[in-house]
Symmetry: C2
Subunit: 309 residues, 2 copies
């Protein structure tokens, strides 16, 4: 087995194992079982999607893994990024990753998204022909500063353990990526985001991504536990629905993964599992000054340094 | 006053008058009043948005007119279309139009959209430097064939009265434009769509557009009257919400007007007033064979010739 396939296999195994671990945790918390769909893609590869719907804690929670390969169209190759010049068979690609979005019912409990992925172009051996990407970010409807701090702290701890990772850089990158220009708002309170990571070795990158991905539950579950049973009003649920509308706007208008999926004949239900069960658009909705809703908006318009200067 | 400004003024007056007429009709049917926002655009021009929210018949109904001018960015100019080569001051533009989207509460009553617009590049006198666009289309959650036939018949009658218009061509154009590739579905049962219309004279085009725009109420109101008070179940309301999710997908991912607005610093609340009040995304939603829901999907996947061969 070549060195190339070693990393392919290692990453494929990792994302599948992690999907099992995370789904097991959700099952326990939610008290329901996911629906699983194993699918193949005509052009090569496939995936395993698991989605919890209308459970006790989660309105919708999807955890998807995929292993796809094939030949990119020049347009898809451009969207894919990686910053590489295309030449002949560099249009061949291999990609594997895990992607999850959890939308809790309770408006006090934040939505969370995480995604870890590995790409190769061509044989994936030459410098610049392979890279990792990923990150995790938190999207509350109501701001609990301790939640944002906890989520960021866990991710900073992981970054600090790995030479290749830079929390400050990945934190800013996250704020920039999950920005909704037409609203001048962040999608949420951030976390980390990185793309096109290719350090001194594949192994070094994998160790960081693996570490990060396996801390996801530590970053999110304590927050969920604190918020999932809090009391809330009809008005607070409605505000959550408006925030979900913004989530839809970001994912459909700006998210590169979604756009990539829509133009590469991906499995549509797996791509759009990230959308919330329900969303709301009120014309000219405004939040009164001094409310919790305004407090959230202020932070979304001015990303915070959650861990202090 | 130059000939150029004559058409600018004529069209501006027409869209404002029509906004009054249509809003008056909605007010009467809905028993509520719209919220009006008169807005200006930093780069030149502005608009008048009127939106009914959570009324007795309509969940959300927006009727917007705008008169904007300025200098296009090359990117916006490309999105704007018109099929013209850009040269220097051709980046100057003038645009006016009326745009409306009505989302009734009752799932038996279809959503409707209409838009009529006039563009100029530069001085708007040379061949190819001015054009009209527009159309109207119907988006039911439940298919009543007589509704689709009525809506198409009214539009065919208008087209048949004008040399410049071709119902068959505009009907197909509508089916092509309001198509959701990633779902392999039409957004609705169509109507007419045309863009970049510039016949022998501005006056000839205006007469068609004016006639069409003024038949909007005749095309839609009889349908609304028939459906707005029909009984419906919770399940039928949920299906409507899923169809509204598709409406959101089309508008945010494909609609050129929305994309143009988002990249030209348009008034965001006016651009997104087309989105429904609420929408729903169920993972892997399926419709049982032989149901009314399946009947609709079949037609959305295979556009019908509503007026016979």
């Amino acid at each position: 087995m070549s060195l190339v396939n070693e990393m392919r296999n290692k990453m494929v195994e990792m994302v599948h194992d992690l999907q099992d671990i995370i789904c097991e945790a959700i099952k326990t918390i939610d008290g329901t079982m996911y629906r699983e769909d194993v699918w193949t893609r005509e052009e090569g590869g496939g995936g395993r999607s698991r989605v919890f719907s209308e459970g006790n804690v989660f309105e919708k929670a999807g955890v998807n893994v995929s292993v796809v390969h094939g030949t990119l169209s020049p347009e898809a190759a451009e969207k894919m990024g990686g910053g590489h010049q295309l030449e002949g068979k560099d249009l061949d690609f291999f990609a594997t990753g895990i992607s999850l979005v959890l939308h809790p019912i309770n408006p006090m409990a934040p939505t969370v998204h995480a995604n870890y992925r590995y790409f190769e172009r061509g044989a994936g051996q030459a410098e610049g022909s392979w890279w990792f990407g990923g990150g995790a970010d938190l999207t509350p409807s109501y701001l609990f500063e301790e939640d944002a701090i906890h989520f960021h702290r866990i991710h900073k701890e992981v970054c600090d353990r790995h030479e290749i990772a830079d929390y400050n850089r990945f934190k800013s990158w996250c704020d920039e990526y999950f920005h909704i220009p037409h609203r001048n708002e962040g999608r949420g309170v951030g976390g980390i985001f990185f793309d096109n990571i290719h350090g001194s070795s594949k192994q070094e990158c994998f160790e960081f991504v693996n570490d990060c991905a396996h801390r996801f539950l530590d970053a999110y579950l304590p927050i969920l536990e604190r918020r999932k049973d809090l009391a809330y009003t009809v008005q607070q649920k409605e505000w959550q629905q408006i925030r979900r509308g913004r989530y839809v706007e970001f994912n459909l208008v700006y998210d590169r993964g979604t756009k990539f999926g829509l133009t590469t004949n991906g499995r549509i239900e797996s791509i759009l599992m990230s959308l919330p069960l329900t969303a709301r658009w009120e014309y000219c909705h405004e939040v009164p000054i001094g409310t919790e809703e305004e407090k959230l908006l202020t932070v979304l318009k001015n990303p915070m340094d959650w861990l202090g200067a």
